[in-house]
Amino acid sequence: MGKSKCLITNGLFSLTLYFQSCSCSIMKKAIFRFRFDFWVLAALVVLLGGCDAGFTSADMSPGAQTGTGGSMARFALAGNTLYIATKQSLDVYDVSQADSPVKIAKTDLGVGVETIFPYRNNLYIGANDGMYIFDNAQPDKPRLLTKYTHIMSCDPVVVQGNYAYVTLRTGVACRQFNSVSLLEVIDISSPSNPRLIHSTPMDSPYGLGVDGTRLFVGEGSKGLKLFDISNPAQPKLMKFRSDIPTYDVIPYRSTLIVTGEKGIFQYRYDDKDRFDFLSKIPVE
């Protein structure tokens, strides 16, 4: 179902490209033959206008073309849109022409922006003062749905279904008021009204990743934590591997890819107890 939708969108999109690339020569000929014939121009306007419709939702053509980043990412792709979280703003580039990004929007947030996670029709931004949720149905007009404010921090967010998982870390710059590191679960079933439903103390959490009933949280040099989230509102700690320093993770095709100060580690996991070592690329 999802795939066919994607194919149709891609089809529409290539058609769009076709029309766009043709429109120039069509226009030249039109000018040559009809000398600014009103109807030719009107037709072009309609054509190009119709093309725009093909670009609307960044969420409609995921997968195939673009890859997947970790939760600490400042760069994120969704369909034909590249999002960059710069120091203080969310910048949006149209990458329909993959080799030639064009900046189409810039939203100043006025605070330190750290991470960005696109999920379905929304963008989840980890900023110094909380989690911002943007509706990105129209990539050139990111619309702020809500700002879930927490204590000053600089921490990432990942999303699955109706839940956002956020880590808050102490000890970073601008975090004087708080002394507890946390993993928070936020119910985002109503994105404009996020609700905190669970909070667990952590050691020094950095990046995190979620896949099905598994939640992986990097504890920096302290290690890696695996949680069972069969009940998303009550993450249950299954394993704490202090031998795997973890800055960030990507769960991908049942393989957990871990990056940290000792190198890249990979593990095979499933929705049961499996967590088998696959390989290590060491720091040398």
Partner: protein, 181 residues
């Protein structure tokens, strides 16, 4: 009540002030001086623009990661990106290393890789990972901090005339530097 408010406001100001780097001859509220300071590492525009494929090499300081199909991309903090063939996650194979100074982030669409190169956004054609090409450079797309990524430290103020800052080095100094945060 008013006194409380006043104290709160002063507290807020102190916190905000502590996060801002600024110049001062004899700062009253600088961090404790321990004989060290951070010194910017500069790169000339030509040096910064030299982006190339190099043979696969050892990881030094792994940063962010990115996956696309069978490839795994690993940032080496400030130095560039390792391209790794990960078709078999049990035995990943280093394909090449992309030298991109002051790089920390990346994303891939089709055969194009987007990366930060100090304040520039660059687009690389990675169809042949052993011979990548820069196809686009958007200058000043990503604002850079002119202070090191640490709190409560002294540092040599950035002189933009010397080039782009591609890193910070901790050095011994006899007296506090002009900048701190």
């Amino acid at each position: 009540m008013q006194k409380l408010l006043y104290q709160f406001a002063v507290g807020i100001m102190l916190v905000v002030a502590a996060c801002e780097p600024r110049d001062s001859e004899t700062p009253a509220n600088g961090p404790r001086f321990d004989g060290t300071a951070y010194q910017p590492i500069y790169a000339s525009p030509a040096e910064l623009a030299r982006i190339e494929s190099q043979p696969g090499r050892a990881l030094r300081r792994p940063g962010k990661i990115y996956v696309k199909d069978n490839y795994l991309f690993v940032n080496d903090l400030g130095e560039g990106i390792h391209i790794i063939d990960n078709s078999d996650p049990a035995s990943p194979r280093k394909v090449s290393f992309l030298r991109i100074l002051a790089n920390y982030d990346m994303a891939v669409k089709g055969s194009y890789l987007y990366a930060d190169n100090a304040s520039d956004l660059v687009v690389l054609d990675i169809r042949d990972p052993l011979n990548i090409k820069v196809v686009k450079r958007i200058e000043k797309a990503i604002p850079q901090s002119d202070y090191p990524p640490y709190a409560n430290v002294w540092f040599e103020c950035v002189d933009k005339g010397k080039g782009a800052v591609v890193g910070w080095e901790k050095v011994n100094v006899s007296s506090p530097t002009a900048c701190f945060r």
